[in-house]
């Protein structure tokens, strides 16, 4: 995709978000943003995951009340499984293999078990998830109206639907070899959450700056007080780090799918995205609320639309502790004699071994 097309897509999304249409989701769908990862032959825009993440940063900045991230991944998986007619697919990225039983009868596949806290699990048309690890991983797509699915509705702090689906002898719409295993899907979803978070953090910063310049106390805007300036500047450092981490994570997805990068399950940037943005989110929310004082603590004010999402998203798809432990254990399990640095910064593949010798 050309840089020009990419910029046009970005501009188009920006216009839609800025318009704040009442039926945002319908407008996004009409413009095809939910299918943006699919190739053009399938009604998509064929964008990279890095580009998709940039759109999600925008969505996060505008607290887009929509399932854009989950629908993007949903479409990608549903398409992979060859299922047609999914107008509102979502993904159950936190599906635990041990909670799912996939069985084969004479008539075909049957699924039992539980899909916890699926984004828009009640309202979707299809839900995609992966069970198993490595090459044994299977991608399962269920039609939401299939018999045997019962829904317990739930919500996150921001009111976004997180519904638990209980499956009893459900006939899946498709079961195919998965393009990624369950842990990789969780990692991918975590990276997309990171992009949304980076956007919401930037908006919290922008709101705080705007308010600090307007709100007058002790005879001057509170933004003139160094104590306030220092806090907001610290919030800016967190916003910058969050965006850098989220972008690095999304690029890792592309490199892996293009076959030039490490597997997502072994990629440090992939694991780092959610760790770093999750930590930044907590800091950002605390500072933004402090700047706004009591008004920011009201339902009436818009700040909570961003902070509640941040407090929700940081615990979805694995929180900082989950990914930190996973990453740390992986590094510590390496060659006992190897330094941390050389585990974190391996030599590039292209020049290892014989090639390195030849280059000298």
């Amino acid at each position: 995709m050309s840089e020009e097309t990419r910029d046009m897509l970005h501009e188009a999304a920006l216009r839609i978000f800025a318009d704040k249409p009442k039926n945002l989701w319908a407008v996004l769908q009409e413009s095809g943003f939910d299918k943006t990862l699919l190739p053009e032959s399938k009604g998509g825009a064929g964008v990279s995951w890095a580009d998709a993440s940039r759109l999600l940063i925008l969505a996060g900045e505008h607290a887009a009340d929509a399932l854009l991230a989950d629908a993007m991944v949903g479409h990608w998986l549903v398409d992979h499984a060859g299922v047609d007619g999914a107008t509102l697919p979502t993904v159950a990225s936190s599906a635990h293999s041990e909670q799912i039983r996939l069985g084969r009868t004479r008539d075909g596949w049957r699924v039992d078990g539980k899909l916890p806290r699926v984004p828009w699990g009640g309202a979707c048309t299809h839900v995609a998830f992966v069970v198993g690890s490595g090459t044994a991983a299977q991608l399962i797509v269920l039609s939401r109206d299939a018999a045997g699915i019962s829904v317990t509705s739930g919500r996150n702090l921001a009111g976004e639907p997180r519904d638990t689906l209980v499956l009893e002898n459900v006939v899946p719409a498709a079961v195919v070899a998965a393009p990624l295993d369950a842990r990789e899907l969780l990692s991918l979803s975590a990276i997309l959450r990171s992009a949304l978070m980076a956007g919401a953090i930037e908006r919290s910063l922008a709101l705080a700056v705007e308010y600090a310049n307007l709100r007058v106390q002790f005879g001057r805007p509170i933004g003139k007080f160094q104590a306030v300036q220092q806090n907001i500047a610290f919030l800016a450092t967190q916003a910058a780090a969050a965006r850098a981490a989220a972008e690095a994570g999304s690029e890792a997805i592309d490199e892996w799918l293009d076959g030039v990068g490490e597997p997502l399950s072994r990629n440090i940037a992939a694991a780092s995205a959610k760790i770093r943005t999750g930590e930044a989110a907590g800091q950002a929310c605390a500072i933004a609320h402090q700047v706004f004082g009591a008004i920011g603590f009201t339902e009436e004010h818009e700040l909570h639309r961003f902070t509640k999402r941040l407090w929700s998203w940081r615990d979805e798809c694995g929180n900082e502790a989950f990914w930190s432990r996973e990453l740390g254990e992986r590094i510590l399990a390496g060659d006992p004699g190897q330094s941390l640095w050389r585990a974190v910064v391996p030599m590039a593949k292209a020049i290892s071994g014989a090639a390195a010798g030849a280059a000298r």
Binding site: V228, R243, A248, R325, S339, L340, V345, M347, I351, A359
Partner: protein, 379 residues
């Protein structure tokens, strides 16, 4: 693009090739090893060996003894050296900022005479910025250079000048015109040979017991006309561009990697979930900081202004460094002891004692946050 976004850095194939060469060189280095005990080893023998390999002044043009590489390649070599606490302090300041300063603003004579010696690892610099009454408020410097026949006469004092007692030159910032309404006006930079009569140096011992930094006095020091760097009165602008180099490198977030390595080695003997979580979190921070630093290198290569990005990075990086001992000590408790035979205890002692300086040197975090606040439209 957003003001706070860091452009995607490029992966340098040449850099990655250099990485394996540097690792090989380090693994085979038999000279002094400063290791975890030294925060910043000053070792001319090591500096010259690096110079011979072409790993100092890698970004300098070839005709000034440089390697003609890009900043991306320089970063690879630098981070590999920092990762093993290689003793690079002798040449580090000269290669990081004085060389680039002379290349950008210096006279042809200054460039020809000095830059190749920096690249050879034989010429070391200190930076004369802070004064006894002028620390964070850099525009308040009072050291004065008065125009005299054929040159300048300098009087005043600098303080906290790292390595002033063992470097060849200082880049001195001083007043050449009285402070006007614009306080930043009337400042100029000079190239000072540390052996010039009237320059005296008194070392100051820090809380870790090192004598890295100094007080430097100037008493009627005569500098010839060609000691001026760049344009008279443009010192502030020149320093600001120099500080971007000073604030954006991996030396602003890797100073305490020695303690992290010792921690990881000890942790492998007594693994715990908390230990794994701590390592994972530190690595996530480190990997994000590395990306931001490489991104700034890409901006500088494209001749974009990266002063804000450098301030953001230094604040993040030095807070990260400072937090390392506080994090480690609670996960793997030990009583820190300088020079202890237990590597982890010794490394922890070292970083605890050096941690306060991280967020002070090269611009306090309060000053940096002031820069950020201003760029956001506050103030």
């Amino acid at each position: 693009m957003n003001k706070l976004s860091f452009p995607r850095p490029r992966q340098s194939e040449i850099g990655e090739r250099l990485r394996s060469e540097v690792r090989e060189f380090i693994d085979g280095w038999h000279g002094n090893r400063h290791g975890a005990a030294a925060f910043s080893g000053f070792d001319p023998e090591f500096s010259e060996a690096l110079g011979k390999r072409g790993w100092i002044g890698m970004g300098f043009p070839k005709r000034y003894g440089g390697g003609g590489y890009g900043l991306a390649e320089r970063l690879v070599v630098l981070e590999e050296l920092l990762a093993v606490r290689a003793p690079i302090f002798a040449h580090a300041v000269a290669e990081r900022q004085s060389g680039p300063l002379l290349l950008r603003f210096g006279s042809e004579r200054q460039r020809e005479e000095i830059v190749p010696r920096i690249a050879a690892g034989k010429c070391y610099f200190c930076i004369g910025l802070s004064e006894p009454d002028s620390g964070s408020d850099l525009a308040s410097v009072r050291t004065r250079a008065i125009k005299v026949d054929g040159g300048w006469r300098v009087n005043g004092a600098k303080i906290w000048t790292s390595s002033a007692h063992r470097t060849h030159y200082m880049v001195l910032l001083c007043r050449t015109a009285p402070a006007s309404e614009v306080r930043q006006a009337g400042l100029s930079q000079f190239l000072v040979d540390m052996k010039t009569p009237g320059v005296t140096c008194r070392s100051i011992v820090n809380i870790a017991g090192d004598d890295d930094f100094n007080e430097v006095h100037f008493q009627d020091v005569f500098l010839s006309d060609d000691a001026l760097i760049g344009v008279e009165g443009q010192g502030w602008q020149q320093v600001t561009s120099e500080l971007t180099f000073e604030r954006s490198g991996p030396d602003r977030f890797m100073s305490h990697m020695g303690a992290v390595e010792e921690f990881v080695t000890a942790l492998k003997q007594q693994p715990s979930a908390e230990g794994a979580r701590t390592v994972g979190r530190l690595v996530a921070h480190l990997s994000t900081l590395r990306r931001m630093s490489r991104s700034i290198a890409a901006m500088l290569t494209a001749e974009q202004d990266a002063a804000l990005h450098a301030a953001l990075l230094k604040d993040l990086g030095t807070c990260f460094e400072q937090e390392i001992p506080e994090t480690l000590r609670l996960v793997l408790p030990t009583e820190p002891e300088p020079g202890a035979s237990d590597g982890y205890s010794a490394a922890l002692a070292n970083v605890i004692l050096h941690a306060p300086s991280c967020t002070i040197r090269g611009g306090t975090k309060e000053v940096l946050r002031g820069i950020v606040a201003k760029s956001l439209g506050l103030r």
